[in-house]
């Protein structure tokens, strides 16, 4: 283990800020990081104290759908209005958007947790798994991505991998993002009805393909097109697109429908029997009966496949240790995966163990780098959550602060952006370009504008920077530039 606790906390977390006490015993800190129950924290204003994250900004799934519905319906009303001019319409729609937005708070929570949270290892693991199970953002899905991150991913970090895989696969966001909501069994009731009416309905294999390729066994498993097709048949019937979930939820709510109970099922287990494919299916030589339960059997089988253990042990190792991690280090994680039957708590513990022993360096994602830069330096760059949605406080909506959301986008590393399902790369080459470095340098400069407690030279000292980098910092002509050189050196970009 690196005896530098500052370095260690950056490897598996976000580093210790100037006001944080270093743990006396790293091993017990590691354990408590994985097992303790933490409270989310946040700040109301940029210079206020850190406190418990307000309950009203922890949106339940229902809250999210309600707000999305309010936006949808309200927008329709505004746009259909005959009294308003088009400029007024635009303005009102923008105000409404600000009043109903959820993603902005999720992004604030995401930042606050990384910069001020006690649970930095859990946060890093959450980032890893959220990326592994990419749900692309944009549009209405942004109302529910926070639910995916906090309820499904964070909430299951200590579960078994099969539990996580099933919950991820059946989340409305995933079912919508990878088009499963559009997939209909060809021999289902719904498809037969469509055929009688001169329409076609059929399978869409997008989610099935990524479930095998990205989420579990990987192409190394050498599955066939039939395996994908049969997985798609098992998945048929699952999902409704986000817009229609929002619409249905909102209408039922408005009617005060007593059948709200069935709505819960519709939201949390969106399965529609009339679109499901009847009959037996075979995937990777395993037989599956028809019915809702077959999906859990499928995800369990995939989760417990040896290739899944191999694929994910390697991915975890690359994420935390570095891309030139050696096979024996991967094997330690793999062995624990097998022995524990995919118990994530055990696996994560081993990831920490192997990372502690390794000498490899990891090139950090831009978002991880930025959160570390803010936390470690003690800069007050993050505006508080009250600044997030000013209209809540009846202030002028133009004060709304979208910067935290935008900066993640600028860094090319936001979970609220539309992107490909393979998620953000673990490879340094993918993050080195003139434009990427342009942003790093500009963000470093911006962070400096908010009075960091630790200056460039102190950062270099605490983190054992190379002599070469220390010389460069020394040569920089002012404090700001020293800070920028420190943060944009390989000694801080890698750990």
């Amino acid at each position: 283990m690196s005896d530098n606790k500052h370095k260690w906390a950056r490897k598996v977390g976000f580093g210790f800020g100037p006001n944080e006490l270093l743990p006396t015993d790293v091993e017990s800190w590691n354990n408590s990081q994985l097992t303790s129950n933490f409270k989310s924290v946040g700040m109301a204003k940029r210079y206020s104290d850190v406190e418990i994250w307000p309950q009203e900004y922890n949106f339940s799934f229902e809250d999210r759908l309600r707000r999305a519905g309010e936006y949808n319906e309200g927008k329709k009303e505004i746009e259909n209005s005959k009294k308003l001019t088009s400029v007024e319409k635009k303005k009102r729609v923008r105000t409404l958007r600000d009043q109903t937005d959820v993603a902005l708070f999720d992004v604030y929570k995401f930042w606050n947790s990384a910069i001020y949270g006690d649970d930095m290892v859990k946060q890093r693991l959450t980032h890893f798994w959220t990326n592994h199970f990419t749900v692309g953002g944009g549009g209405r899905r942004n109302y529910i991505i926070g639910d995916f991150i906090y309820r499904v991913i964070y909430g299951n970090l200590n579960a078994s991998f099969d539990e996580l895989l099933y919950k991820v696969t059946t989340h409305v966001g995933m079912l919508d993002y990878l088009d499963n909501a559009e997939s209909v069994g060809e021999r289902s009731e719904s498809a037969r009805w469509a055929r009688r009416n001169g329409k076609t309905q059929g399978l869409n294999d997008n989610l099935a393909r990524e479930l095998l390729e990205l989420h579990s066994v990987s192409p190394e498993r050498m599955y066939t097109e039939d395996d994908i097709r049969n997985s798609a048949k098992i998945l048929a019937g699952w999902g409704a697109n986000t817009d229609s979930v929002i619409r249905k939820f909102y209408r039922e709510r408005r009617r005060d429908n007593p059948a709200i109970g069935s709505l819960g099922k519709f939201i949390y287990e969106p399965y529609f029997k009339d679109r499901a494919e009847p009959g037996r299916k075979i995937v990777l030589d395993n037989k599956f009966r028809s019915g809702k339960k077959s999906l859990r059997q499928l995800t369990d089988m995939l989760a417990n496949d040896d290739f899944t253990a191999r694929h994910l042990s390697k991915k975890l190792a690359i994420h935390f240790i570095g891309e030139s991690v050696n096979q024996s280090e991967i094997d330690f994680i793999y062995n624990v995966w097998k022995d524990s039957k995919g118990n994530l708590e055990e696996i994560h513990k081993e990831v920490l163990n192997v990372t502690a022993r390794s000498k490899e360096r990891k090139f950090l994602w831009p978002s991880t780098w930025m959160f570390q830069a803010i936390r470690f330096s003690g800069s007050s760059f993050l505006p508080g959550f009250e600044d997030g949605n000013a209209s809540f406080y009846k202030a002028v909506p133009s004060k709304l602060n979208y910067e935290p959301k935008k900066i993640l986008e600028e860094l090319g590393n936001s979970f609220w952006e539309s992107r490909q399902p393979d998620g953000y790369s673990e490879r340094k080459d993918d993050w080195v370009s003139t434009e990427h470095f342009d942003r790093r340098i500009k963000v470093a400069s911006r962070i400096y504008s908010f009075q960091p407690d630790r200056q460039g030279e102190e950062i270099a000292e605490l983190l054992d920077f190379s002599d070469n980098t220390k010389i460069a910092i020394d040569k920089a002509s002012n404090m700001r530039d020293k800070f920028i050189v420190a943060l944009c050196s390989p000694d801080f970009m890698e750990v």
Binding site: E225, D429, V432, E435, V443, S449, A476, I484
Partner: protein
């Protein structure tokens, strides 16, 4: 899988002997320019360039054939949204390659994109791209119109990006400070900061827009400069339409318009240099011949490649049409690729950089068996 119907094997490849001299180009002063337009997600080639002379098209797809394609020849039509591209075809400055693909049949976006950019048959087996390797041999510079440097041009010595930042209240420090940052880095990272330092000292106002069309325009502007890059890569994402892809209108047709306007924009911004340019599209795979149940198409194999630029002298649709009846399809579902698109890329490199075909096949694609198709496109 490609050997079965390889389009040039035994059909006159001998006509184009390796080492065929390319007029006017020397290694020291490359005049040619290459723009690669990456169509991410897998473009439906049968919707873009429908083989309207093949009756099986209408049997296989009920909805996904444009109602009024522009007829190109007895077999092929083109989606009406390709307006600029159609007039380029009429002007003998564009060509179409159909039933083509990189030799990759796995139907995974990520493997496919890696094969297409890396240029190797095995995904994730190389850290440089085919275009980058060719640029390295030709000693020429390139610019990616994206935040990251895509794999396709990695391996070249002189690389730049363009994707303007929108970070408020912040600007780059002095070039002295940038050089200090550079001094802490090694290899590629150091190179990249060097480039950034150079860029930061340039005067003038550049466009801040980041949509594909504005980026294409910026690429054209940069490339027409005497010392500008000879290569640009423009990305058009979101072709992965599994549902409701649209026929005459809709998402895929809108993307066709965007691709088409990209061609138009490149031509208008490259100005005089258009005559030395070849623009080619690339997509990781085509889509299934039949539509799926949600009026979309799933991942497939063969697709279409669109080429345009002044380096083309005579327009043509190059294809060895495999047919669309069930027995003609790859695994009973996909359009066969009968032309290895690597051979088309090789021809473009030959035309633009004046590199010898053998050099390209051996040192760029690391595969001597790639046939020379130069004469079919640039002859």
């Amino acid at each position: 899988m490609l050997t079965r119907r390889h389009f040039l094997s035994g059909t006159g490849a001998g006509l184009f002997l390796s080492g065929y001299p390319v007029h006017g180009f020397t290694k020291n002063a490359i005049k040619g320019r290459i723009v690669v337009v990456l169509l991410e997600g897998g473009m439906d080639g049968l919707l873009a360039v429908p083989p309207i002379g093949d009756d099986n098209l209408f049997k296989q797809r009920r909805a996904l054939v444009a109602s009024n394609p522009l007829k190109l020849n007895p077999l092929f039509g083109i989606h009406p949204n390709f307006k600029n591209f159609s007039s380029m075809l009429l002007n003998d400055e564009a060509s179409i390659i159909h039933a083509t693909s990189f030799p990759y049949v796995g139907r995974s976006h990520f493997e496919g994109q890696n094969v297409l950019q890396g240029g190797m048959l095995t995904p994730f087996s190389i850290k440089t791209g085919w275009l980058g390797r060719a640029m390295d041999i030709a000693k020429t510079a390139g610019k990616a119109m994206s935040l990251e440097t895509p794999l396709i041009i990695r391996g070249a010595n002189d690389l730049d990006n363009f994707y303007p930042a929108r970070i408020k209240h912040s600007r780059l420090p002095s070039s002295e400070t940038l050089r200090l940052i550079q001094s802490t880095h090694l290899n590629n990272a150091a190179k990249v900061i060097g480039k950034l330092t150079k860029n930061s000292m340039k005067m003038g106002v550049v466009s801040q827009a980041r949509d594909p069309l504005s980026l294409a325009a910026e690429a054209g502007r940069a490339m027409r400069e005497k010392d500008g890059p000879r290569v640009a890569v423009v990305k058009i994402p979101q072709f992965d339409d599994h549902s409701e892809i649209g026929t005459d209108t809709g998402h895929h047709p809108e993307l066709f318009t965007l691709v088409d306007r990209t061609f138009g924009k490149l031509k208008s911004e490259l100005k005089e240099e258009w005559k030395n340019t070849i623009v080619l599209t690339m997509t990781e795979f085509g889509r299934t011949v039949k539509e799926n149940g949600s009026a979309g198409t799933d991942h497939g194999y063969g697709s279409v490649g669109l080429l345009a630029g002044g380096l083309i002298n005579r327009s043509s649709v190059v294809a060895n049409w495999p047919g669309l009846s069930n027995k003609d399809l790859y695994e009973k579902r996909d359009l066969y690729a009968t032309i290895d698109y690597r051979s088309i890329c090789a021809a473009c490199l030959e035309a633009a950089f004046g590199l010898d075909h053998d050099v390209i096949s051996e040192r760029v694609f690391l595969d001597k068996t790639i046939p020379r198709t130069y004469g079919h496109i640039f002859g």
